[in-house]
Symmetry: C2
């Protein structure tokens, strides 16, 4: 044992991190850790053969702990499986069963789906169950995804930058593709497969036409080939004006036959290189992107033209509903609904409309988007932002599970108890084509997502896309146990930190439904005072409308009437401040600073208190993390501790800058005992961050 | 043994790469590999204490193979060492001794310098000696650096991009500095210390003033603190107009007392944060950068004003001589000499003039810069480019040792046998302040330099900066043995590949002294036809002057007379085509396509033959590398094989595009049996690479 220890000590190998916290762990392994040193001793038998089945087998061989009963990986069609009479019906192509069965007289643990992708997901599900404390002797799993397309959106540019990316360069080394197959592409696919993600849009929605040229199609095809055995399809963002820029046409009008022919030919070309190409994602007529409205055609005209081009190959189109400043200058929050609601029923069968979780833009808190439930004839794909553009970039610890779940579990009011999740997973209207998109937080940083805890947001997105009814707490526990080990103190402490971390960001950046208060361009830090940008809805002052008497954007019937974009029961509730949930009060209403809140205090007093709550929560996370110093490997512990210290300083900055500004508007004193801002307002206004990451447009 | 093998197999740990080629090695370890599994068993005793001495001790503990005799690390002043009577005189602060001695009655291997930095270098020298085949029983080393400042220049921007960088983002994560101490900063310092590099300029010579603001000084200070125990000083590139942009002055005229006072105060501020700050690197009045010439002052005026600001703190100024298009529109190659030669003797004692190895810009081959030997009263620092801006970016295998050595070992003609190395290391004129700069090829890619073989260029720069008289062949052997292991076949094959690889690039991009033939902006691929850029000296046609009769830039006395910038004996030789070395013929002369060369063939025939030689060399490297498939770990083998295939395709592209163009000018047929270009000239002209890496200006 002594010699063995010495050998191990000399290695410094990261798989020992769980057992020996002193070792460095650079986070590359994500939530996928092997059970070494006894690994490789479990007996795994594979029935049938395919690249995907072989991966299922090798994943189990790689990570099953010693002492696991014999495991068989198979599909439902393999010899001997049908006779077992297992409930494969309803599992579809991607669902799986993990069951103790007797096969050829032996008691084995069967991992099987109708198709090999189901089997692969089953293998990962088994490892997840064992990694979170289940016993191999008694494990029994059965699951199928509720959402068909579980897709990451990479806002990755062809020059290697990532818009709103805070984890280094783009993973895709376009320069050496298609020649060089970076082993990291496989590791990326494996991580996604482990949580059920089955699609990836490779390039930024603010798309360059180059991505549709032959060299870039070949590059995408190489990635598609790497991802295919892991059950992952490749999609591309398409620039709507490509027929002009690449095709030399005079127009990109979707009603022009030459335009449609160009896209058909381009699609045929892509499918020759990538037979299982997923389809196109399109941002049209938004923030300067070209689109069908440039020609007086509708979003449906544009989407359907593209959909016709990919339909012969089984492809789909994801058409984003994120548009603004075109049709309704009175309230940006109303514009997507105004533009898309009338188009319900006019989209082709292979089109999904991709709708952000809220009506503005991935703020720390937004009410659910009013389009959910309002377009029953159209499959609506929900779009979340996993990368934390508005929640502290890479450095702040903010677990987004609660944000995702809050939207998914919101009641639309359209039918009894109908939730946004019901709309997204198709159960509300019986749509079969369903999807969930997450704007990736993945880059070339060694730990993939810029921090260990950011990995949890990637994980949570995948798990919720598989099953939108999962709880964010349960997902956090799963993730923590796999990432840090099953020590109950570690799991309890990390999940406690995570639980309130997103609410803390809401609190220290602006509670009660305040939104879009950040500085310009890079979106880093506070800028509630910004009022000088060219378009009104670019300015924070447009959103908070603070004046000496009150604060908030009036979206009730006396204001923009955005509330009436919701179902009548919801609209009724939101129309009046008295019945609007306080956490969304200032999103929907302009109210007086001295309005009495539920707790009997004034809005101003409560708003101030929330800033302090948020800052205090971060201090609490620091204390909690300190208790784990001996339980977490040194490298991940130290980086997280450093990032928490940054977050603490910046939370205080958000609080102080915001209070200094509000006080300059409302001329109210701080409640007794509350600390004054550290600097005066001019100091906060003078802060400048010209080299903030992620700002590429 | 069986169980041990199984355990090892399960680990997949990279230290086994040398023994077991099947394992993956991502190249992160560079040339610093441990001798595991028996590591950690050598007895290492440290006499004295300092952070640097502790590093020397830990490096030896980490990597000394089992069976090494007891090792003592110490400085000359440690108890008992002086009595040994060892030759410490002449080793200076950084030199070292490694000697078998008897200390306190025990036979030990002593590693010692006059100062702890010397000891650290000695520890690395011992490991290098053992790693290249020396026996610990007989090893005896004594060495001191011939060059005082051995400095990397990082052309890293504050937004994380790297100008002419092909290995990913900047290592410096300015955004999380100074809070986060990325473990990679330590690994970077360690790698540099292992080859004797003792300084690093953190930011691009095309500098932003932000790097001189308080927040960025604090970030630089954090890096300096990490690097300090490794004997590495931090320098900053300074933007000459900073007194205007940061200081609010109306001028940056170096003769203005307010300007000098601003720089003094700024220097004081920097030294408060970084007590051992190295000093400033300045690119002035070149390629749009501001400088003293904007005010009618000289480069000496500018450099001396800055030098006075850092002199009280022991700092220095490295002032680049890379200027063009200001004073001499007739020949860009003459301009640095024209501008700087008259300033000899006018620079302050703590100024070095930093001169590129050649007079244009880091081309695959350039004659040595005529300033070397021409400014005897001024310390001239040589600047090499380690990053391969003009030699195939990250993907081409081109070992630059021969390029560096070719310049260093060139005879200046000023004194008998005086070489450029004699000028650079100060021996020619007795200068004590000497330096060598290398433009770094280091980024955040996992393997640091974009490919395994690019690591050799970083290594070779460091070794030649320590001792400019080393041979490139010897350095290649050292590097290969440490990087791939001492298997004689591996060392022989890899060094054979490396030996002619730079000459191959010369051959397939344009032999006989042709230069600057690359495409515009990104400098990727051939563009000899480019003739439409705004400034004449931006165009390849300016450099090659090809016409129906001949090719080459006439720099003899009938031309620009650049030859007379060299010492008379050299100028005499270069003045006539007949006595000019053929490898530099077209650099110095415009000659007829049908000129007879030494081998009896025409220039045109020989030029064509060189293209084919270059392409053939790459094919040869592919064959050589194939023989090592079972001797190199799979990951590094496969990546190198893929990159060689890219190089083969691109070498052919250079050849074909160049031949197609030359034939369009000279209307000559290809010699019999020579393959025609694959495409017509129009095809080559139409190639476009809008997203090529490294192009940030």
């Amino acid at each position: 044992m002594k010699g063995y220890r010495a050998l191990i000590g000399a290695l410094g190998a990261s798989w020992l991190a769980l057992a020996s916290p002193a070792f460095a762990d650079d986070g590359y392994s994500l939530w996928l850790r092997t059970s070494a040193p006894a690994t490789g001793q479990a007996a795994v038998t594979r029935l049938g053969d395919s690249a995907t089945l072989r991966l299922a087998e090798s994943e189990l061989r790689r990570a099953l702990p010693a002492g696991t009963p014999p495991v068989v990986v198979a599909t439902a069609a393999a010899p001997g499986i049908a006779a077992l009479g297992l409930p494969f019906v309803g599992l579809g192509d991607e669902g799986y069963l993990v069951r103790r069965v007797t096969l050829a007289g032996r008691s084995v643990l069967l991992v099987a789906g109708n198709g090999d992708r189901g089997t692969l997901y089953g293998a990962f599900a088994l490892l997840r169950a064992l990694g979170t404390g289940d016993r191999a002797e008694t494990v029994a799993l059965r699951s199928a995804p509720k959402v068909k397309l579980r897709v990451l959106n990479h806002w990755d540019n062809l020059d290697g930058t990532v818009e709103r990316g805070y984890a280094g360069q783009s993973l895709w080394d376009w320069w050496t593709l298609p020649d060089f197959d970076d082993p990291r592409y496989t590791d990326y696919a494996r991580a996604n497969a482990s949580i059920g993600i089955n699609g990836t849009v490779l390039n930024n929605v603010n798309a360059k036409t180059d991505s549709l040229t032959a060299p870039y199609i070949a590059k995408a095809a190489k990635l598609a080939a790497v991802f295919r055995p892991w059950g992952i399809k490749v999609y591309l963002s398409a620039r709507f004006s490509a027929p002009i820029e690449l095709g030399g046409l005079k127009t990109a009008d979707p009603r022009d036959p030459a335009v449609a022919a160009w896209w058909r030919a381009k699609s045929d070309e892509i499918y020759r290189a990538i037979p299982d190409f997923g389809g196109f994602l399109v941002k049209a007529n938004s923030e300067g992107q070209p689109g069908p409205r440039d020609y007086g055609a509708s979003h449906a005209d544009g989407a359907n033209m593209l959909a016709a081009a990919v339909a012969p190959h089984g492809g789909i189109v994801m058409w984003r509903a994120f548009v603004y400043a075109e049709t309704d200058p009175t309230d940006r929050a109303k514009q997507a609904y105004s533009e898309f609601k009338p188009l319900d029923g006019r989209f082709a069968d292979n089109v999904l409309v991709q709708v952000k979780n809220g009506a503005i833009d991935f703020q720390p808190r937004e009410p659910f988007h009013p389009l959910f439930g309002a377009m029953p004839k159209t499959p609506l794909m929900i779009e979340f932002q996993i990368t934390k553009e508005y929640l502290g970039f890479a450095t702040h610890l903010a677990y987004l599970g609660p944000l995702f779940a809050e939207t998914l579990h919101a009641k639309t009011g359209r039918r009894r108890d109908e939730t946004v999740a019901d709309v997204v997973d198709g159960s509300a209207e019986g749509h079969k084509l369903t999807g969930m998109a997450g704007v990736a937080n993945i880059g070339r940083d060694r730990d993939w997502s810029g921090s260990t805890f950011n990995q949890a947001n990637w994980y949570a997105f995948g798990r919720l896309a598989w099953d939108p009814d999962l709880t964010s707490e349960g997902i956090a526990r799963e993730w923590a146990a796999q990432t840090f080990g099953t020590d109950p103190q570690v799991v309890a402490t990390t999940t406690a930190m995570m639980a309130g971390s997103r609410e803390a960001v809401v609190d220290y950046t602006g509670a009660f439904g305040l939104a879009h208060l950040m500085a310009t361009g890079h979106h880093y830090g506070p800028g509630p005072w910004v009022a000088d940008l060219a378009r009104p809805e670019w300015n924070p002052t447009y959103y908070h409308r603070a004046d000496p008497d009150g604060i908030g954007f009036e979206r009730g019937r006396g204001g923009s009437d955005a509330v009436d974009q919701y179902a009548p029961s919801v609209a009724r509730q939101l129309a009046r401040p008295e019945t609007t949930p306080e956490r969304e009060l200032l999103w929907f209403h302009h109210v007086r600073w001295d309005r009495r809140m539920a707790d009997g205090k004034t809005l101003w007093e409560d708003l101030v208190a929330h800033y302090d709550t948020g800052v205090g929560y971060v201090a609490g996370m620091q204390r909690q993390w300190d208790t784990l110093r001996d339980k977490i490997d040194a490298e991940r512990w130290q980086k997280t501790a450093t990032y928490l210290a940054i977050q603490q300083r910046e939370a205080r900055w958000w609080r102080d800058a915001s209070l200094a500004y509000w006080m300059s508007v409302n001329h109210r004193p701080l409640p007794a005992g509350v600390a004054a801002p550290e600097h005066d307002l001019a100091w906060y206004k003078a802060q400048s961050y010209p080299h903030a990451p992620g700002h590429t447009s």
